[in-house]
Structure formats: structure tokens, C-alpha cells
Symmetry: C2
Subunit: 396 residues, 2 copies
């Protein structure tokens, strides 16, 4: 037993927060206590389950209203949303796109779909996301401005965009990051897949660059089964996003003409129906998740060798996925804690394997990733479903 | 008025078949009279709407059992299914893929996603699909065999595969086409997006090459909202299809590792639930659609200047989308007939604009397309929903 860290004690603390539950506890389960049935039944009764129907339009309007972004274009999942954002930002084959090494695979895959190369950058521990100051120092060293934008002096390739991801819902420090983007002529595209309901300095994440991506996968704060959205304040970009995600069909009463190679990324109406019902419950989901995070924070106070991750100053997080950080000296205990909790039916998981370690990206450029590497060794996600934070459930 | 063709008479005939209906009639509407509601309710009650849940497995098993193919891998739509088929067949950037000029845009787009070049080939009027004999003569002229396969002598590029599409459910003449594939060392990939329920010489379409694609879009014979499937008799290809469509995540209790650039193409469980309920109703859908085609066939007998398209000899079509062919001498009447019927609330449409005319494909290689061009001038689709063929609806 290592002094100062006791995995049984950590398990006890988690169990104390989840006290009323005795079965297995997932990392994140959706809640369907609103109009989900009513809206889906409306789809079935009218026959509008697919590419036509009012729920897609309504879901897009609801998302725009909630996030404060002018337009939302619903798509089939978050990966598709990222792909479209990158294409609309003008990412071309052989461009480099800066993305955090600590992210879900979708960010890197979307870059690859464009024929571009992910260039991995480091995080700061405070936000779990891109570190703007470290990035600025790095770009100062490795880039040179040319007629068509910022270039990597080492590879000769253009660095066209940076795609920060708001890890587990905690917003990246966007103001200094935007300053870096302006200084180096690099476009900001927010990967807001995990941060619906998260605000930075009072403005919603996904509302800071020209283009952003949301996800509504089954484990997200709201779900459409599978789904995502492109957010933009630019009407023309929104129209292009719609066109590009609906096979670029030119509107006509009966003719089938398409004017570019495009994608079948539209969200089916039945999935959008689920999204509309879920959006109505956002305030409740957010309150429950915040309550759960408060319970965890209180419970982990004073527990040796481990700390609970809280929202960065100046930001309001959706606390989508709660996380613990083990002190560096006890990282050898991480896998034991994962095994213990999962064996007890309490689902926990480590951070994603950092992108630069995956076989298809080992040749990709990267900066010093020491903070991401530390977070990778130390991070554990713990159960985070909204219903775990409801008063009737988690308090005595 | 052109002698021998009277658009008012054609409208009367269509209306006589649809006699009981007085509102607007779509081209194709789904029917939800089975267990759709029960299965979706099960998803909502259990919380399994997304990437985990039993309906995806069951839907795949149901599809395999129905089509007689060993394995089906459910995906997010037919375009995604085609994309995966092409990747698994080894299509590489700069390969050419033979596809009919008369097809929906998805076939050509999927080729483009691989960085390959669609090479457009002609149809025969009897099947509305690829003409194997004309193709053989063409390939004899333009190809040469090299170590890595069949090459186009004119472009120097490899011709790796042919993707016949079973137009409106009518099967392509597969036996001679397979002979062409064997002779020229070209892989057969069936685009069976429109032909679930269609058989060629007693064996289901999509069961003739190594890989085939299905679609369950809202207008298809069965629908999952949006959905598709890869069909294969090769277990190893099926495993690779599953891996490639689920972000290539390496199975592990908690680790997130991915071993290649892959796709988020999995079908959500809630959409698969719809598919399971729809599959149970396939026999009824097929019977209704066949009945509707018989009513149309009888009604159009003796109508001047136009004929109803029937299934090719040796094949059993699902009659997914019914079609009329106007005699060549009356093609100038096509748009008048489209306007008249659509203005009366009876949805009709022409063939898709041929692929080689679309701006992004005008530079693509193509053979003589005279039959496809004739079909494009003459073809009109007419209302085809299964419920229109039910005895209680369409007969007096």
C-alpha cells in the first residue's frame, strides 16, 4: 500500500455520492423524462421520420436560440459536424490543423478526412484544454507568415486552423487563444462536442469562432441517438453547410441535380424529434449535473492523493463528464483504481490515449506535450449521468 | 396536341389506380403499422438509443437472414455503406470505378470520397441497369491487363471495380456481368440501395459480389429514418466493416485506443429498432407493392405513347419505385406531364440527371451512354407507396 493514496478510500467516496444506487453505474446514461415519446410518435403518425419533417428545423432553431449562435445545421453526428466545419474553413489536403493531443479520436479523424495533417498541441491542467500561452511560444518558434497564411517552417506546410476541444465540458481559455489566432492568422474552429451548456465569460462555447461543432451522441448531455450540429454566425456559411450536408442538391420541384461532391450527413427527423424533447430539459440536466459535481467536490475534499476537477475560473461548465486527477506520485495506482471500481460495477475510465501515440498519427508533427502526458497518466472519469445528481436520488 | 400521346389521359390512368385518395400523393411514403412504437419505447425505457443496444445486432441478423448473406453491418446511411464497400474492396486514390451514368448521386460521391474517379457506363432498357454486353465490348477496346489489375489504356489508371445499381428495385443482369468481372479482373460491388426484397434468379440482390450496400432512407422499401448496411459473405470483411464504421476502436474494458483512421458510421440503436419493426412487415410491403405494380400495368395497357416498366425476365423486383417510359417521339411532353401531375398533387419525377452531366463529373471518363440518355429523356416515376397497393385501398 502506498502511503497517502488508498484506492479503497476513493471507491468509498464515489459510492457515498452514489449511495442510493446498488446496481451497476454507467459513466453516462441519458434521461428521457420529457416529450420524447410524444414527438417520436408524431413522426411515426405522420410518416415523417427521415429527411423531411419539422423537427429538424425546430431542433436547429432551438440550438441556435440556446447557444446564441445565428444558425445551427443539424447533422448525423459530431464527427460529420467537425468534417463540415473544416471543409468550410477551407482546409485543404496537406494543410496542418492544430488539435489537442488530449481529445477524442473524432477531432483527428475529421482532419484526416480532408487530407490534412493533425498537428498535436499541449493542454493546460486548469482547463484540460489547449494552452494558448504555450501555443503562442511554440508558433513563434516554428512558423513563418506567407502570402497564403501561416506556415510551419519545419514541414513547409500551411497551418490553417486550430481546433480546441472543451474537454468534458470545461471551456478552453478562449480570449488568449483568439489572440493567438489573430496574431498568427490561424482560424479558430471550436470542437464543442462535449460542451453544450458550457459558457466562457458568459457566452456559450461554440460561439467564438466562425464555425463550431456539437455532438448529441448517446453519452452526451443531450442525445439524439446519434447526431451533431454545425454552429455559425455567418448566414452564408450556414447555407453552404446545409448544401454540403444534403448531397448538394440544387432545389427544384422535381429535378435531381447536384452541383458538387457532397455528403449525406443530414440528421433524420426522428432523431431530431428526440433532440427537441431533450433540449426542453436542458436546464434540469444542467442543474442535476452541477449538483452532482458539488457532491463529488465536497466528498473528495481532504481525500489524499487525488483531486476532483472543477470548472476553470470565468467559465461555467456543463460538468458533462466528471474527472479526478491522481497526484503524479501515485499514478501507478491508476489502473488498480480502474480495475477496482469497474469490478464493483462502477464504471470509470482513463483519459483517451493521446493522439500522437496512435499508430496512424505517430508521424504527425507535435509540440512538447508534457502536460497532456501528465493528464493522461493521472486522469480518471467517474459516473456523471444527470439523474445521479437529482435531489431525490443523491441526497439523504 | 401531339397525336398518340395525351397527358390528360395519362393523368386519368394514374388517378384511376389511386382512385380512393383525394389528397396529395407522395412518390413514396413509409408505413408504420407494426412494432415500431413498441421497439422505440423499449429504447427510451432502457436508455439505449445510441451506439449500444440490442436492436443493432438484431437488425443485422434479420437482414442477413432475409437476404441470405452471411453478415450485415448496419451503418448510418446508404452512402456510408457504399463508401465502406469501396474502401474494403481496396479502391485507392486515382483508381477508376465503373458506375452507371443513370444512378443516384450517392454511387458517384462514394467513389469520390476514396479519391477515385467514377467512370460512367451505359444501361440497358430491359433492366434500367448496367448493360453487361455493351460493357464487355467497351472494356475489350479500352483496357489492358497489368500486374495490379485491369487498366484503362486511355487514362493509364487502374479500373478496380464496377458498381451496378439495381434501379428502382429491378435487378441488373448479374450473371453476364459477373462473367465480365471475371474476364477483366474487376470486382463486383452491388449498389443494392433500392433493391431490398429484389431477387435475381432466386437469389437476393446484394448477394452476388464480395460486398454490397443497402439503404433504409425514408423513401425506401423499409426505413430506419436514415440508415444503410454493408452485406458480405466474408466474415473477415464483415469484422473489418464493423471496425472501420466504429472509429476502429480496439476492444478494451476502459482504454480508448484506435488503430487506424476510421469512421463514425454506426447506426444508432433507436434507428435500428425502427428497422427491426419494418423488417417484420417486409412480406406485406412486397405484396402491396407488387399489387400496385399490377394495377398500374393493367391500367397502362393500351395507353398510347407510354409504357409501364416491369421487372426483367428471371428476376423478382421489389417494385420499389414504379416508372413509366414515354415513347421517344413524345419526349417533349415529359415536362408537361410532370407539371400537370405535380400541379394536381400527384408527385412524379424524372430520372436523376445523368452523372456525366453534373459539373463535378464532366471530366470523368465515360463510354457511349445513348441508352441512359434515352431513359433520362423518357422516364417518369409515379407514386409507389406500399399502402397504395393494399386491397382495401386501391381496389373497389
Amino acid at each position: 500500500m502506498i502511503t497517502g493514496f488508498n484506492r479503497e478510500a476513493v471507491l468509498d467516496v464515489i459510492q457515498s455520492v452514489l449511495s442510493r444506487e446498488h446496481g451497476a453505474v454507467s459513466l453516462h446514461e441519458p434521461s428521457f423524462n420529457g416529450n420524447e415519446w410524444a414527438y417520436i410518435k408524431e413522426c411515426l403518425d405522420t410518416g415523417w421520420v427521415s429527411s423531411v419533417g419539422g423537427f429538424v428545423d425546430r431542433f436547429e432553431t432551438d440550438l441556435a436560440a440556446y447557444t446564441g449562435v445565428k444558425r445551427a445545421v443539424a447533422v448525423v453526428n459530431g464527427t460529420a459536424a467537425l468534417h463540415i466545419c473544416l471543409l468550410l474553413a477551407g482546409i485543404q489536403a496537406d494543410d496542418e490543423v492544430l488539435i489537442p493531443a488530449l481529445t477524442f479520436i473524432a477531432t483527428a479523424n475529421a482532419v484526416s478526412y480532408c487530407g490534412a495533417i493533425p498537428h498535436f498541441i499541449d493542454c493546460e491542467e486548469r482547463t484540460l484544454g489547449v494552452d494558448p500561452h504555450k501555443l503562442a511560444m511554440y508558433l513563434e518558434k516554428i512558423t513563418v507568415q506567407q502570402a497564403d497564411g501561416c506556415h510551419n517552417r519545419r514541414t513547409g506546410r500551411r497551418i490553417k486552423a486550430v481546433v480546441p476541444m472543451h474537454t468534458f465540458g470545461h471551456p478552453v481559455d478562449l480570449d488568449p487563444l483568439l489572440e493567438v489566432c489573430r496574431h498568427f492568422c490561424i482560424e479558430l474552429i471550436e470542437d464543442a462536442a462535449e460542451s453544450l451548456g458550457s459558457f466562457y465569460k458568459g457566452r456559450h462555447t461554440g460561439n467564438w469562432g466562425r464555425l463550431s461543432a456539437l455532438s448529441f451522441n448517446g453519452n452526451k448531455i443531450i442525445t439524439t441517438g446519434g447526431g451533431g450540429a454545425v454552429l455559425t454566425n455567418d448566414e452564408e456559411l450556414a447555407e453552404r453547410a446545409k448544401h454540403l450536408t444534403t448531397t448538394a442538391k440544387v432545389p427544384h420541384r422535381w429535378e435531381f441535380k447536384h452541383d458538387m461532391v457532397a455528403f449525406n450527413y443530414r440528421l433524420p427527423n426522428i432523431n431530431a424529434a428526440l433532440g427537441c424533447a431533450q433540449m426542453e430539459q436542458m436546464p434540469g440536466f444542467l442543474a442535476s449535473k452541477r449538483r452532482l459535481s458539488e457532491l463529488y467536490l465536497a466528498a473528495f475534499k481532504g481525500v489524499a492523493g487525488i483531486s476532483f476537477v472543477t470548472e476553470p475560473a470565468g467559465a461555467s461548465s456543463n460538468y458533462w463528464l466528471n474527472a479526478l486527477l491522481i497526484d503524479e506520485e501515485f499514478v501507478t495506482e491508476r489502473d488498480n483504481l480502474l480495475a477496482l471500481t469497474n469490478n464493483m460495477g462502477i464504471m470509470t475510465r482513463p483519459a483517451w490515449t493521446l493522439m500522437h501515440r496512435l499508430p496512424m498519427f505517430v508521424e504527425s508533427p507535435c509540440m512538447d506535450l508534457s502536460v497532456a502526458e501528465s493528464l493522461e497518466r493521472r486522469l480518471i472519469n467517474i459516473p456523471s449521468s444527470a439523474f445521479l445528481g437529482r435531489d431525490t436520488y443523491a441526497t439523504s
